[in-house]
Amino acid sequence: MRWLIALLLLAFPVAAEEVVLGLSQDEIAITTSFDGSEIFVFGAVKREAPIPEGELGVIVTIAGPSVPVTVRRKERRFGIWINTDGVEIESAPSYYAVATSANLDDVLSVRENLRHKVSVPSMIQSVSAPNTVLDASAYVNALIRIRENSGNFQLLEGKVVVDDETLFRTRIRLPAALTEGAYETRIFLTRDGDIVSQYETAIDVRKVGLERWLYSLSRNQPVLYGLMSLAIAIFAGWGASAAFSLLRN
């Protein structure tokens, strides 16, 4: 096994430039007082040769877990606005941020974007529209618009600061409404739009403490959870009533 890996390593030339990464945190704990988070991504370009030719670009992406979504459009029927057509999208990330050192089009070629799925629209896959829908792209744009407005999709062009073609850093904001899961984090190093090095890691976003306990209970013991909710409700109702009669006497 070991000789196979060694052989593979020899077969491919080592990249002239390599990315070395640091994250302010590789775990986000959702506690009761969780109100969003900011991740500080920093790193350096490691190279053993002189700085090569071409424009250097750094791209940082963070993607939350992908789930299928349905996008519906309202139309006026009989004087009121109702949902008429819908488009199903098989996979769209619940959160996606792209931070770049310059305009995305300048630091990444169209071909590389297609291959590595970096831009926001390229993350949205398998759009299946019924025959009645002629403009499926309008639905995809709507999804992007809605999620951009809520801070769940972010395109941060020029927000990666690069010093001396070696050190880079950026800050990416995670909104308060965050779903649990592994947030896939990718760093791309580009020269004239071509990716020369990439690094992948994951930020673990999970509920802790009371949040975790309640969430697991509601999924694993729904009857117990329901009864507990009712007991709290009844107790609170009785408590308030008793407290008020004491106040009156």
Binding site: W81, I146, L214, Y225
Partner: protein
């Protein structure tokens, strides 16, 4: 103070929720309505996912109704026998309502139908109550006696008659069961206790005295919403207990205050205030349906939210 809700998966201001709970609680105690018809749309507005809002609201109504009904038990203004009859219909209706809700959700039309239900029910009931109460107040102001509502109608010709002593009625059990059933369906699909329909139905259809109506309505709402809470908790996993606790802390205190305000007011005044509020909510919902929304598209993630 921001607080993260474990099931809704959003972060909201705790004081905002306490305040909303308190306001709606006061109304709940005054009118014997659960307040869900106000709270559920308010929760949508502050960004709680609709499925979570509907389920959690049911749980919160249990608390405010329980708090309210205790005050009514002390004053002996609960018709237990009538409550139980209404409840039988209510539980059947709630089960039907959850089935209907899940069917409509699959069709993508649940929002529209829920809103249309609100507009139609709130509009008709609010309008009728408003006119009736206004007439009653006018007659009292003129110095005439308050007219007693019609004692005999088609309802008195139905079989299976039963005596309801507290309400002073001797009527068939069929109308109360039907009223309970309709309210149960609405409770499940709209995330409301159904008091805003139950109260007028008891006054105008069953001919119960207003003072007994509030306590009896609260009594049966406790059980119907408790049943709905359990159904949502076990099938959709959408009851957020943290959200419920924040709402009900404000709610139960408000309900106690409201009950005491309600005692000091005349029945006609109580009814006209409830009518105005019902009409306001109805108008707001109708407005939203008729005016072109700023965002024509909506996103629904599969799997609950």
């Amino acid at each position: 103070m921001q607080i993260y809700l474990p099931i809704a998966e959003v972060s909201v201001n705790a004081f905002l929720l306490l305040g909303l709970g308190g306001m709606v609680g006061i109304l709940s105690g005054m009118f014997g309505v659960g307040g869900g018809f106000l709270m559920t749309p308010l929760l949508f507005f502050i960004g709680i996912p609709p499925a979570v809002a509907v389920a959690t609201e049911a749980n919160q109504i249990v608390a405010s109704s329980f708090s309210g009904v205790l005050a009514h038990f002390k004053r002996k203004t609960v018709d237990l026998r009538m409550g139980v009859v209404l409840l039988i219909g209510g539980l059947i209706g709630a089960a039907l309502g959850v089935v209907l809700f899940n069917y409509l959700k699959a069709q993508g039309q649940v929002d529209l139908l829920v809103k249309l239900c609100y507009v139609v029910f709130l509009g008709v009931i609010g309008g009728l109550m408003f006119i009736e109460s206004l007439n009653a107040i006018r007659k009292t102001a003129k110095g005439g006696a308050v007219p007693t509502r019609k004692k005999h109608n088609w309802i008195h010709k139905l079989p299976f008659k039963m005596r309801f002593r507290v309400s002073g009625l001797y009527i068939s059990v069929i109308p109360p069961i039907l009223v309970g059933l309709c309210v149960g369906v609405l409770a499940a699909i709209m995330g409301v206790g159904g008091g805003f329909i139950m109260v007028p139905a008891m006054i105008y259809l069953l001919g119960m005295p207003t003072k007994v109506v509030v306590g009896t309505s609260l009594f049966q709402i406790i059980f119907v919403t408790a049943f709905t809470t359990m159904l949502h908790a076990t099938t959709n996993f959408t009851v957020d207990v943290v959200l419920a606790v924040l709402l009900l802390v404000g709610g139960v205190v408000g309900a106690q205050v409201g009950t005491r305000i309600g005692v000091k007011m005349k029945a006609e005044q109580l009814r006209i205030l409830l009518a105005i509020m019902v009409l306001l909510v109805c108008g707001k919902l109708a407005f939203d349906l008729l005016v072109m929304p700023s965002e024509l598209y909506s996103v629904a993630a599969e799997g609950g939210h």
